[in-house]
C-alpha cells in the first residue's frame, strides 16, 4: 500500500516540505491548528524552522521577511487570523513576494464558530487588503489535494512572484483520507530579486513604495498584467458530467464533494445535471462558464456562505442565463438529499 491515511491539515505540511518549504510562521486557531502542530513536529526534523509568533500580524510579517530572502515560506490560519494577515499580504503583493498562505475557513463573522464555512471567499479571492492586488487561490476538496495544491501553490507563487492562498474549510482540514506523496523538491532556485545577506544580492530592495504617482501607476499596471497572465495560464477546474448537462451546479471545496454525489443521484433519475468545480478561485474559470452558458439552461451555485462566489458566476454568465444560489451558513454543510431536492425544484420551476 503506497498510500497513507492522514488529516488534510497534516497533508498540507507534508506537501509544503516536499515542495522545499523550510520555514513556517503561525499562530494557533481552530480548525487550522494542526497545521502549526505538524509544522512544529516536522520542520525542525528537516533542518527547517517553525516559529509560533505573537499574532497573525507578526506571523505574516515574518513570512514577508523570509520571502524577501527568497526562501519558500508559509503560514496558515482561519478567518479571524486571515483578517489580521491582510495588511502583510497587501505588502507582500505590493513587494511581489512569493509565499503561501493557508486559510482553513470557519464560521463568521466575528468569532462566529469553528465549524466549516466558505465565507472568506471575498476577503481571500478579491484581494482582501488595501490596494489593487489579487492573489491566486487554490481550493482543494480532498486530503490528496491539500498536499498537491500546496505544492502547486509554491510553484505558482515563485513563478509569478505573488502570495498564493490555499483555501479550504474546517472539514477538509480535519478529515482523514488516503494520500500518496511524491519525491522531495530541494533545489529552490536562487532569485535575482531577493536579499540573501551577501555581496551579490545586496543591491536588491524589497519594498512596495513608489512615491511618484506615475511610477506607482506603472507598478500597478505591471501587477495587473501579471494577474492577466495568471488568468491566461493558471485556470484549473474539475468537471463532472458536463458534456450534455442542461443544468450546471457550481461549487468548490467540500461543497463540490456533496455536489458530486448530488449529480450522481440526479443523473440516476434521468435529470441532466453536471458539476463544475473551480479548483482555482482566482483565476476564476470564467471562460468555461461562458462556454457552458451557451448550452446549459440554468446555473446553480452552492456555497457555505451568503453567496460570494455566485457573484463571479453571474459576472461571467452576464445575464445570458439564470444563476441561482443556494447557501448554508454557520457551519451547516448541505446534505446531498437537500441538494437533490433543491435541484429537482430547479427543474420543476423550469417546466
Amino acid at each position: 500500500m503506497s498510500k497513507l491515511l492522514m488529516k488534510g491539515n497534516d497533508a498540507i505540511v507534508r506537501g509544503a516540505i516536499l515542495a522545499g518549504c523550510r520555514i513556517y510562521f503561525g499562530y494557533p486557531i481552530t480548525p487550522a491548528s494542526e497545521i502549526a502542530e505538524s509544522a512544529a513536529r516536522y520542520m525542525p526534523r528537516v533542518g527547517g524552522t517553525f516559529l509560533q509568533a505573537e499574532s497573525e500580524i507578526a506571523s505574516i510579517n515574518m513570512v514577508y521577511g523570509a520571502a524577501g530572502g527568497g526562501v519558500r515560506v508559509m503560514t496558515a490560519s482561519s478567518g479571524p487570523g486571515i483578517s489580521l494577515k491582510q495588511e502583510g499580504i497587501s505588502y507582500a503583493a505590493g513587494s511581489e513576494l512569493p509565499c503561501v498562505i493557508v486559510d482553513i475557513m470557519r464560521g463568521g463573522p466575528g468569532l462566529g464558530n469553528i465549524a466549516p464555512e466558505q465565507s472568506d471567499y471575498n476577503q481571500v479571492v478579491k484581494g482582501g487588503g488595501h490596494g489593487n492586488f489579487k492573489c491566486p487561490v487554490l481550493a482543494p476538496n480532498s486530503v490528496q489535494e491539500m498536499s498537491d495544491l500546496t505544492q502547486l501553490a509554491f510553484e505558482i507563487a515563485e513563478k509569478y512572484r505573488t502570495p498564493v492562498y490555499v483555501l479550504a474549510d474546517g472539514y477538509t482540514g480535519q478529515m482523514m483520507e488516503a494520500v500518496e506523496f511524491g519525491e522531495p523538491f530541494t533545489n529552490v532556485p536562487k532569485q535575482d530579486w531577493a536579499v540573501y545577506g551577501d555581496a551579490e544580492s545586496k543591491h536588491n530592495l524589497i519594498s512596495s513604495i513608489y512615491l511618484d504617482p506615475e511610477e506607482l501607476e506603472e507598478h500597478n499596471r505591471k501587477l495587473q498584467q501579471k494577474y492577466e497572465n495568471i488568468k491566461q495560464n493558471e485556470v484549473r477546474v474539475e468537471e463532472f458530467m458536463l458534456d450534455d448537462a442542461e443544468y450546471v451546479v457550481v461549487g468548490y471545496g467540500i461543497v463540490s464533494r456533496v455536489l458530486k454525489t448530488t449529480v450522481e443521484r440526479l443523473r440516476s433519475q434521468g435529470l441532466k445535471f453536471g458539476l463544475l468545480r473551480p479548483i482555482t478561485l482566482f483565476p476564476f474559470p470564467e471562460k468555461r462558464i461562458i462556454e457552458l452558458a451557451k448550452m446549459a439552461k440554468k446555473f446553480l451555485a452552492v456555497e457555505m456562505s451568503n453567496g460570494q462566489m455566485v457573484e463571479d458566476i453571474r459576472l461571467a454568465v452576464n445575464g445570458s442565463r439564470p444563476v441561482e444560489f443556494y447557501g448554508r451558513m454557520g457551519g451547516v454543510v448541505p446534505t446531498a438529499a437537500e441538494l437533490v431536492e433543491r435541484c429537482q425544484n430547479l427543474v420543476k420551476k423550469e417546466n
Binding site: 524552522t49 507578526a58 515574518m62 514577508y64 482523514m176 545577506g197 536588491n204 519594498s207 467540500i254 446534505t335
Partner: protein, 478 residues
C-alpha cells in the same frame, strides 16, 4: 584630517539613486534631524566590522522609511511597526546575515509594541535602533507614545495629559526587564561627548549580532526640530534639559560577557531522509484482499459515537485504515473543538468502492454506539435496514426501532475480561467486521500497527480483535 572627517562611510551609497528628488546627494531628512547621525554611526560600524555585504537593513514606516536610499546593504522596507517581525523572518531565513531593525517611537512603542516585545523576548539575534524623538515626525508632529507630559503636539494641542493619554513609554526600561536581551542602552544625541557614547553603543549592538550573542537594542534620544517646532540648536538643549530628565541615559542591561554565542546547527538531508523525517513512508507494502459480504453492507456510511476517552475517534480511524489497506476509498471525519470537550465524541467513516462524495455521514447505514446518549441521539437517523451496534455493558436501554439490524455486544465487559477496558473500542470495531464480513481479520490486525502507538498494548488489542471478530461472526445472519 579634515577630508577624513568628511568622508562618507563606504556602507552608504555615494549618490542616493533611489531618491526620486533631483538632488541625489542630499539626504531627505530636515536640517538638525537626528536620523542622519544615527545612520552615519551605523554605516561606520558596518565599515569597521566589514559587515555591509552581509547586512540587511529594515526600513520602518516613519521618517526613516527611506533608509534604503542610503545603506549600500540588502534592504527591506516593512509595514508600520512590523520591522522586528520582518527582521525575525529574514534572520531565520538567512542566519548568517546581519539584520538591523531601525524604528521610530510611533513605530516601535505604539503600533509595533507586540512585535518588538516578542522579538526581544525570543532573543532574536538582531540589532534594534530605536529613535526616540518624542513625536511622530513623518505625519507632521502628532503625539508619540514617548511624548512627554505637558508636551504640545498637533494631537495634544494643550499638552499631553496623563489622565487622557497616559505617560511616556520607557522602552529601554521595559525591554531590559526581559530575560533574553543581551544589551540595552539609552543614549542621546546632543553634544560630542554624548554623540560619541551613542556611536559606541551602535557599534556594540552590531558587533553583538556578528558575535551571535543575541538581541540588542539601543534607544537614542534624537532631535526632531521640525516636529518640535524648534531650531536645531534649541532642540539639542531640549534633549539635554527636558527629555533626559524623563528618559535617563545609561546601560540598562549588558549580559554580553556572560552569554554563550549561539548558532543554530545546519542540516543536510537526503531525499530518503526527508521522507523518513516527515513520516510519509507507509508502514506496510503488503496488499490486502477484499472480502466477500452481503450486498446490503456494501459502501457503509458509518457513525461511531461515545464518550471522549472511549477511543471513538480511534475506532473510526482504524476502520478507515482497514478500508485503505483493502483498497477501498475511505474518509474519516471527527467532531472537533468544544463539542469534544463536552465529553461526547463522534466520527464519520466512509468505506466505498467508488470515490467518497461528501465525507459527512448524516444518515448512517451503520451506527456504532458506545454510550447511551450516542444511541439515543443517532438511532433515529440510521437509514432503514441499517445496522446498529451498541455496547450493552454501558447502555441500559434497547434499540427501539424494528426496521434495522441490531448487534448488541457487551464490549466493555469483554474488554475487562481481557484485562484492559480501553480495548472495548477495538472489540466493537472487530465485531462490525465479523458480523458484516467486511474486512479480513488480518487486515484489522495490521491496522493496529498504525492505530496503537504504545507497542506493548499491541498484543492485547490483537486479542481484542479476535474476540470481537468471533463474537460478530457468531451473530452473523445466515
Amino acid at each position: 584630517m579634515a577630508s577624513k572627517v568628511l568622508q562618507k562611510p563606504a556602507s552608504f551609497y555615494d549618490t542616493y539613486e533611489r531618491n526620486p528628488s533631483t538632488d541625489k546627494k542630499m539626504p531627505h531628512y530636515c536640517p538638525g534631524c537626528g536620523h542622519g547621525n544615527v545612520h552615519k554611526f551605523i554605516a561606520e560600524a558596518l565599515d569597521n566590522y566589514e559587515l555591509a555585504d552581509r547586512t540587511i537593513f529594515i526600513s520602518p514606516v516613519g521618517c526613516s522609511v527611506f533608509g534604503y536610499y542610503y545603506f549600500d546593504t540588502g534592504n527591506i522596507q516593512a509595514a508600520h511597526g512590523r520591522a522586528p517581525a520582518v527582521a525575525t523572518g529574514i534572520k531565520r531565513a538567512h542566519p548568517h546575515s546581519i539584520v538591523i531593525s531601525y524604528q521610530g517611537d510611533g513605530d516601535l512603542a505604539a503600533i509595533g509594541t507586540a512585535e518588538i516585545l516578542h522579538a526581544a523576548n525570543r532573543g532574536e539575534n538582531i540589532t534594534v535602533f530605536f529613535i526616540n524623538n518624542a513625536i511622530y515626525g513623518m505625519t507632521g508632529g502628532q503625539m508619540a507614545p514617548t511624548t512627554l507630559e505637558t508636551q504640545k503636539t498637533t494631537t495634544t494641542p494643550t499638552g499631553r495629559n496623563a489622565r487622557n493619554e497616559g505617560y511616556p513609554v520607557k522602552v529601554a526600561e521595559l525591554i531590559s526587564q526581559l530575560e533574553a536581551p543581551v544589551y540595552v542602552e539609552r543614549v542621546a544625541l546632543f553634544d560630542n561627548k554624548h554623540r560619541s557614547r551613542a556611536r559606541m553603543a551602535v557599534r556594540k549592538a552590531i558587533k553583538n549580532q556578528a558575535d551571535h550573542l543575541g538581541f540588542s537594542l539601543v534607544e537614542i534620544l534624537s532631535p526632531c526640530p521640525s516636529g518640535w517646532k524648534m531650531d536645531p540648536v534649541d532642540s539639542l538643549h531640549w534633549i539635554k534639559d527636558v527629555m533626559m530628565n524623563q528618559f535617563p541615559l545609561g546601560v540598562y542591561k549588558d549580559n554580553t560577557k556572560e552569554v554563550e554565542p549561539y548558532e543554530a546547527p545546519k542540516m543536510q538531508l537526503s531525499d530518503e531522509e526527508i521522507k523518513q523525517a516527515i513520516e510519509i513512508i507507509p508502514d506496510t507494502e503488503k496488499e490486502f484482499k477484499k472480502t466477500e459480504y452481503a450486498e446490503r453492507y456494501a459502501n457503509p456510511e458509518i457513525k461511531v459515537a461515545g464518550f471522549g476517552g472511549q477511543g471513538v475517534l480511534l475506532l473510526g480511524a482504524a476502520l478507515a485504515q482497514a478500508g485503505l489497506l483493502e483498497n477501498y476509498n475511505v474518509s474519516w471525519l471527527p467532531s472537533y473543538g468544544p463539542e469534544m470537550r463536552g465529553g461526547t465524541a463522534n466520527c464519520h467513516v466512509n468505506v466505498r468502492n467508488i470515490p467518497v462524495g461528501s465525507p459527512v455521514v448524516n444518515d448512517p447505514t451503520v451506527l456504532i454506539a458506545l454510550n447511551r446518549p450516542s444511541l439515543e441521539k443517532f438511532e433515529p437517523v440510521v437509514v432503514k435496514n441499517g445496522l446498529i451496534i451498541y455496547d450493552t455493558s454501558l447502555i441500559d436501554i434497547e434499540v427501539q426501532r424494528d426496521d434495522v439490524e441490531v448487534l448488541a455486544i457487551p464490549a466493555t465487559e469483554m474488554a475487562d475480561k481481557l484485562g484492559n477496558t480501553r480495548t472495548a473500542n477495538m472489540i466493537a470495531m472487530a465485531a462490525f467486521a465479523g458480523y458484516t464480513g467486511i474486512f479480513n481479520r488480518e487486515t484489522l490486525k495490521e491496522t493496529l500497527k498504525t492505530a496503537i502507538k504504545r507497542k506493548k498494548l499491541l498484543a492485547i488489542n490483537e486479542k481484542a480483535v479476535d474476540e470481537g471478530y468471533e463474537f460478530g461472526k457468531s451473530k452473523r445472519p445466515s
